[in-house]
């Protein structure tokens, strides 16, 4: 009886999932039936009013900028909760528990490659409006650079105070740019800067400013997550 119920439920779920997927015309110019005007408006407005070659960036930061602010807030809340769950008194945070220390090849290689990783991350979020990538991707790349250093050097540590200052300043920049748009153009995150020449670095109005703020914020938050988790000593294998 129970098995029959499960099979019926799975069949219903499978039917609706399959019928949804069959409506998507993969590869055809009309990707989803019925909502083609939205796609055309986004693509035309990206080129016409913003002068930005990357349509994804213009949607994420300009047309749907408020959603991005919400995403950044969710990430901030997650980091705060993780920090409060894994909270430790200051003197208990000592050496990280390492099974074996990294060899000299790893440590010198990490020192060599760390600036390159940071540079790549900065490039990805500064050029977010010109090439693929953006604030989130660049921030994560920078956080993996810090992760490499934390794994290679047992004594390497990051300052929580500096991380929270960077994070707060980036968040204030994002919200402040949005409020300036509200003052200037009447809507939150309204573009109030000149859009410039297409395909040049200083173009796209407020998009590069917001993406740089998001990049710093994500990098600081994820570095904090990694540092907190890495310093959490397990009780299972001592």
């Amino acid at each position: 009886m129970k098995k029959l119920l499960v099979i019926v439920l799975l069949a219903v779920l499978g039917f609706y999932t399959a019928s949804t997927f069959f409506d998507i015309g993969f590869g055809s110019p009309h990707f989803v039936k019925g909502i083609d005007p939205v796609k055309d408006i986004y693509i035309n407005q990206t080129v016409k009013s913003l002068n930005v070659p990357n349509a994804v960036t213009s949607i994420v930061v300009n047309f749907r900028g408020f959603d991005t602010l919400g995403e950044v807030t969710v990430l901030f809340l997650a980091v705060t909760v993780l920090g409060s769950v894994l909270y430790k008194k200051r003197h208990e945070v000592g050496e990280r528990s390492v099974l074996f220390s990294a060899s000299s090849v790893v440590t010198s290689g990490a020192k060599l490659i760390f600036p390159a990783i940071i540079l790549l991350g900065a490039y990805v979020f500064i050029h977010g409006h010109l090439s693929p990538g953006g604030g989130f991707q660049g921030g994560v790349i920078i956080a993996t650079g810090f992760l490499l250093m934390l794994l290679s050097y047992e004594s390497y540590s990051v300052s929580h105070k500096a991380l929270s200052i960077v994070e707060s300043l980036a968040g204030i920049t994002f919200a402040g740019v949005g409020l300036l748009g509200l003052l200037h153009g009447g809507s939150f995150l309204h573009n109030f800067l000149p859009t410039g020449v297409m395909n040049s670095l200083f173009s796209g109005g407020i998009i590069p400013i917001i993406y740089i703020a998001v990049g710093f914020k994500v990098a600081a938050e994820l570095t904090g997550v990694i540092y907190t988790v890495l310093n959490e000593k397990g009780e299972g294998n001592e």
């Binding site: 994804v56 960036t57 099974l99 693929p132 990538g133 989130f136 991707q137 994560v140 294998n237």
Partner: protein, 94 residues
């Protein structure tokens, strides 16, 4: 034609890695298998002309999530088996 064969091979590899991750008793290898799934998925996104999503998947799915899972596995018991855990408790009591 070669394009479709490449995509088919990548999809088969994803399914194989997913099945391996579920069947594997060693949690470290299972975590690495999920990392491989993300890696192949980011290649697929790139082939489907979505470089933004591919970059996100490569950075978050391959690097960050895998490393956080590895750290978590290190702090817990590595093998999934129940008898292994009991032996550990016994040896800790002795």
């Amino acid at each position: 034609m070669i394009y479709f064969i490449l995509i088919a091979v990548l999809l088969v590899l994803i399914i194989a890695a997913a099945i391996y991750a579920v069947r594997q008793k060693d949690l470290l290898y299972a975590t690495l298998a999920t990392g491989i799934i993300s890696l192949i998925l980011s290649v697929l996104y790139f082939l489907l002309q979505a470089p933004d999503v591919a970059l996100t998947e490569a950075a978050i799915g391959v690097a960050l999530t895998t490393i956080i899972f590895v750290i978590t596995v290190r702090n817990t018991v590595r093998m999934e088996d129940e008898s292994d855990k009991k032996e550990k408790i016994k040896s800790a009591v002795k």
